[in-house]
């Protein structure tokens, strides 16, 4: 509920729209009641042949009510949706403001990109919060109160019956339903999860399932999980239908009581018979606003879940040390840093296995280092510790002799030219994406760098979301271009050219080493070729450094690097 409060607070910024939604909602509801009350009264009057004045007045009122009703409905919808979408906008901004300081570390916890899509989905699904959870009950109560007050002029008993009806259809039935529904909903989610898992197994394991003759089994399994899921869905829908029907029936029964009580009172002379038709019409109409309340708990639960999931991302991030590091010292951006790691060990949050074990390395300022090793040996993790992606580790990491935990995050990041394994590009032009590197870049400078990485893109070329209209090699080259434009003194390159052909790679590296000849550079290389000129090569396996030295050293030592080199020579890619 705490999370919904945040949503509610954001909503209150749109006070005017909220107020207008409620006002028009009330006018629409009350208009309908008035219209039918009036028509009931009209024909009763007509039946006893009263004066034409009364009739004309009634008829005029009827027109007013029906127009009010229709127009108010429009107003209600318009303002409630506008409030909702403005709210979603503030919600996105609010969420972003809290998430931004936690990035990029907060994403370490979530390996897959799903979390982000889910966040976006949760924000979207919160649009139901105002439209179906927040204001309809308010409108319902006000319409009922007005109606009940009106009927009080005619009969206290009938007003009491209507009040009881409001209580049962608006609160009691939805509450009972909510209790029942909660269990089914959670089972439904679980079943959906297992169906999706079984389906994934069926497709991803298709070839092996087929060859090992397990496909029938898997198909049957999948079929039966699907049937269980469908029957749970059915139970869920029937439950909803049932409470809706119950609510509808109660509304009808209340009208029945109104009719019976009215008849009794008239027979006893306590009420004028001319109002009976009107009261029955009121009762038949007013419940239109309360019967939809049967679905209220479902929407409330959905909103609550979405809100708590949304904010849990931020809260977990805050409690797990993704917050900006405490360091206040600014990292020196002007000169190439020396990099140092002393006895560093590291395991990923929630994992026992050590991803890095007893790492020691000393890279002098301006040195060029390559890290090689099989996939999963910890190369990328090592690189990420250098720019404080994971603040929790054993041992020391130093830049220019200073412990990184004492350095301000932003200044560390400002001091690197990163090309990581996945590089994000935004929807927009090539130019916009390059301008991330630095303000005030001239078109010439950008075109020049594009030339260096052998990309013949125009600066106005449109890039689609996540750069999906670029090939792997193009993305890597654009990322290198962006890093080159940034002009910091520490290069951190994680397999920057794995999708680029050997010849182009060589040309790009020539430019890169030329520009960075005085800078410190760490390169994770997927190939063992072209490493002859590096000052040092570090070989990693299973989280350890098992060899290091210059190319000649390693080759003459005939150790691990030499063996890997022999294999690489014989591999046809």
């Amino acid at each position: 509920m705490k999370d919904l409060k945040i949503v509610m607070k954001l909503l209150m910024k749109e006070r005017k729209d909220v107020f207008l939604s409620i006002l028009f909602g009330f006018l629409a509801g009350a208009g309908a009641v008035a219209l039918f009350a009036n028509s009931g009264y009209l024909i009763s009057q007509a039946a006893i042949a009263s004066t034409l004045v009364v009739l004309t007045l009634s008829i005029a009122l009827m027109k007013i009510f029906s127009v009010t009703r229709a127009v108010s409905r429009y107003g209600e919808r318009y303002f409630s949706h506008r409030a909702t979408f403005t709210k979603l906008s503030s919600l996105r901004v609010y969420f972003f403001e809290r998430l931004e300081p936690l990035a990029p570390r907060v994403f370490n916890r979530y390996r897959s990109g799903d979390i982000l899509a889910r966040i976006v989905g949760d924000v979207e699904s919160l649009q139901n919060f105002f439209l179906r959870v927040y204001y309809p009950p308010i409108v319902m109560v006000i319409v009922f109160l007005a109606t009940i007050t009106f009927t009080l002029f005619f009969s206290v008993y009938i007003a009491l019956i209507l009040a009881a009806g409001l209580f049962i259809t608006g609160f009691l039935v939805p509450l009972l339903f909510a209790l029942k529904q909660r269990k089914i909903q959670s089972e439904l989610r679980e079943m959906r999860g297992s169906l999706s898992a079984e389906a994934a197994e069926f497709f991803y394991g298709f070839r092996d399932l087929k060859l090992y003759q397990k496909l029938d089994e898997q198909e049957q399994q999948l079929g039966s999980v699907s049937n269980a899921y469908i029957s749970e869905q059915e139970k869920n829908s029937l439950q909803a239908l049932f409470s809706q029907s119950v609510n509808q029936m109660i509304a009808l029964i209340i009208s029945w009581f109104v009719l019976g009580a009215g008849a009794y009172l008239i027979a006893g002379g306590e009420l004028d018979g001319i109002f009976l038709a009107m009261l029955v019409m009121i009762s038949l109409t007013v419940f239109d606003t309360s019967t939809p309340m049967a679905a209220f708990p479902v929407h409330l639960e959905d909103s609550r879940r979405a809100a708590s999931r949304l904010f849990s991302v931020v809260e977990e991030g805050e409690s797990s040390g993704a917050e900006p590091g405490g360091g206040t010292t600014k990292h020196n951006l002007q000169e190439a840093p020396a990099v140092e790691m002393n006895n560093v060990s590291f395991s990923f949050p929630g994992e026992e296995r050590k991803a890095l074990k007893d790492i020691n390395l000393h890279l002098p300022a301006g040195s060029k280092t390559a890290i090689v090793g099989p996939s999963g040996s910890g190369k990328s993790t090592l690189l990420q510790l250098l720019f404080k992606m994971y603040p929790e580790y054993e041992g020391e990491v130093r830049l220019n002799g200073r412990l990184v935990e004492n350095l301000e995050d932003e200044s560390i990041w400002a001091g690197i030219n990163p090309v990581l394994q996945s590089n994000h590009f935004f929807y927009g032009t090539v130019k916009e994406n390059l301008l991330l590197a630095k303000d005030d870049l001239s078109d010439e400078a950008m075109n020049d760098v594009l030339g260096k990485v052998k990309l013949s893109f125009s600066l106005d070329k449109q890039i689609l979301e996540k750069g999906e209209n670029l090939s792997g090699g193009e993305k890597q080259r654009l990322a290198i271009a962006r890093a080159m434009l940034k002009g910091a003194k520490l290069w951190l390159l994680d397999e920057p050219t794995s999708s680029v052909d050997v010849l182009t790679e060589r040309l790009i590296f020539d430019h890169l080493f030329e520009q960075g000849k005085d800078d410190t550079l760490v390169l994770i290389s997927h190939r063992l070729t072209g490493l002859e000129n590096m000052d040092k090569i570090i070989v990693m396996e299973q989280g350890r450094i098992i060899e290091s030295g210059s190319y000649e050293d390693l080759m003459s030592r005939k150790g691990y690097f030499y063996e890997m080199k022999q294999i690489e020579k014989s591999v046809f890619a």
Partner: protein
């Protein structure tokens, strides 16, 4: 929507049931109005005592209960129908996918297929659970009400008859305008809604470039633009409901006016008739309006159904099998390829005219650039996919003459990324073997595959759960599990897709040693990426762009096939340059 309509129409039992329930609902609506009016009439105009209406009140209570019950049953029939249809769709999709391996797994669109199987099928629900029952109800109930009104007061009936068509008419006019408008805005909307996700996904990059803070305004602005674009679309939709509301409200007011005037001025009507008509009028218009709402939900289903049906109608390339058994000759079978070809569809990649013989206990290397058809050839040999032309002949009989099981029992397939089933490591090693195996045999196979050390290090050893939701194994470890499977199964034919790169030295060594050992008792066909594998092979099938460009040993091909020589040279050259 056509196909869904067809399906609904074929469910005769449910259709008649829904029709019956609609008629009963109509009757209840009319009876409800009748009894309410009768009671008010007795009390109000005739001044009858309360006792005289007690029995009428009883009947009315029954009618009200019946009306609620009918509406519940109506909804329930729809829900049940939806379940039935969903189960049918999912079942046909499943059998479609399993019959059609090329479609299911080779094109690598598994994620999309999972989504069709789950989401699209679920989305079909609302057509049957909401739209269809409502549609039947709307085609019955208003007609009955109209009949009843005509019976008592034809003038009111006439007003209804004239005004009613405006509701569907306006619905269609405004509905299609809204549709057009929203289609115009759709691209804009999609771009806006993607912006937030785009920024979140790029947040790490933004931070590293010190650009994150500036994005706040971008999010706010794009959100507000998104709001305005959405509101434009919604306004059209709201306007259409406004028109509908106007029509129904004004029609009701018109009817009230008509009965009121005729009641008082001309004395043509009784109070009974007037009140009766007045209660039925809103029921009549509501029923018509509800169809509009239901139509909206139904439309969502249509798109989903189109996706499902598209999948179901995809062309099949089923693999045929016979019932012959592979003869056990004490040696692996001889395999011949006779003009084998395969195509992924018109204009797509094709493998053409591959011919050759693979003798028992030999090693064959399939070599070629990526995309030259190596994996496709391996799939055809395994029997997962069937050749579109030519034949694969095993021991003199076409592969399709044999029983599927009999062939698969002879076979092990070690892929680059072997699949681990949900289950223990022991189960995963024993998966290919039909007869029960002892734990000792499993451990021996694991030992040969060099994985026993790793397993011993696990708390639960061979009973450790792996696969979906279990412990993840590294690429090298998975390779070794696949090797252990082969050691346990002792197949006569092994298909091996050699890793391209990225393995640790130890796994490399184990792979080499194990394959050598397995080759002593089996025919081995390898998609080869390593020079030593290629050199060792008795025969190389060199593929170039889907064609068999050369066949022979390494030395022979170096001699006679320039493309082959070229490829090897580039490989060696890549090393130095």
């Amino acid at each position: 929507m056509k196909q869904l309509k067809e399906i609904a129409r074929n469910k005769k039992k449910q259709m008649y049931l829904l029709l019956l329930l609609s008629v009963l609902t109509g009757a209840a609506v009319i009876a409800q109005a009748y009894y309410i009016v009768a009671i008010v009439d007795l009390i109000f105009l005739q001044g009858a005592p309360f006792q005289s209406i007690v029995s009428l009140m009883g009947v009315l209570a029954a009618v009200l209960a019946a009306r609620a019950a009918f509406s519940y049953l109506n909804g329930r029939t729809g829900i049940k129908l939806a379940s039935e249809v969903k189960a049918d769709f999912r079942q046909s999709l499943l059998s479609k996918y399993r019959r059609n391996p090329v479609q299911a797994s080779l094109k690598g669109q598994s994620g999309k297929k999972v989504s069709v199987l789950l989401d699209s099928v679920d989305e079909i629900d609302s057509y049957f659970s909401q739209y269809y029952p409502q549609m039947i109800q709307t085609s019955v109930v208003p007609l009955m009400i109209l009949g009843a009104v005509f019976y008592y007061n034809w003038v009111s009936g006439l007003i209804m008859l004239i005004t009613a068509p405006f509701i569907p008419l306006f619905f269609i006019i405004f509905g299609s305008a809204a549709q057009k408008k929203s289609e115009e805005q759709l691209e804009k909307l999609a771009a806006f809604s993607g912006k937030f996700l785009d920024i979140l996904q790029g947040l790490s990059t933004l931070k590293l470039f010190g650009r994150a803070r500036a994005q706040r305004e971008a999010i706010r602005n794009s959100s507000l633009e998104y709001r305005d674009a959405t509101m434009t679309v919604l306004k059209t939709a709201f306007l259409s409901s406004l028109m509908l509301e106007f029509i129904s409200m004004l029609s009701i007011a018109l009817i009230a006016l008509e009965v009121g005037l005729r009641l008082v001025l001309y004395d043509q009507l009784t109070f009974f008739t007037a009140f009766f008509v007045l209660i039925l009028a809103p029921e009549f218009y509501n029923s018509l309006k509800e169809l509009g709402t239901a139509f909206h939900t139904g439309r969502g289903s249509t798109g989903a159904a189109a996706k499902v049906i598209e999948e179901l109608e995809e062309k099949e390339q089923p693999v045929k099998w016979g019932n012959k058994q592979i003869e056990k000759r004490g040696a692996p079978p001889e395999i011949q390829l006779r003009n084998v070809g395969f195509s992924y569809g018109e204009g797509a990649f094709a493998l053409k005219q591959v011919t050759g013989t693979i003798k028992p206990l030999t090693e064959t290397a399939v070599v070629g650039r990526s995309g030259s058809g190596k994996s496709t050839l391996l799939h055809l040999l395994s029997g997962i996919a069937a050749p579109g032309e030519g034949d694969i002949v095993v021991n003199g009989e076409t592969l399709s003459e044999y029983e599927e099981k009999s062939w698969f029992n002879e076979l092990s397939y070690i892929s680059q990324n072997p699949y681990l089933f949900s289950g223990t490591i022991a189960e995963n090693i024993a998966v290919g073997v039909n007869e029960t195996v002892t734990r000792e045999e499993i451990e021996r196979a694991a030992d040969k595959a060099g994985i026993s050390e790793m397993v011993a290090g696990l708390e639960k050893g061979y009973d450790t759960t792996v696969g979906e939701g279990g412990r993840g194994l590294s690429g090298g470890e998975k390779q070794r599990v696949a090797l252990a499977r082969a050691f346990l199964k002792k197949p006569s034919v092994i298909l091996f897709d050699e890793p391209t790169a990225g393995l640790d030295l130890r796994t490399e060594q184990i792979l080499q040693r194990s394959m050598k050992e397995l080759a002593e008792t089996s025919t081995v066909i390898t998609v080869a990426h390593r020079l030593h594998t290629i050199r060792r092979a008795d025969q190389i099938l060199f593929l170039d762009n889907g064609l068999l460009a050369g066949r022979g040993t390494h030395d022979e091909l170096m001699e006679s096939v320039p493309e082959y020589r070229n490829m090897v040279a580039v490989q060696q050259g890549g090393d130095t340059g």
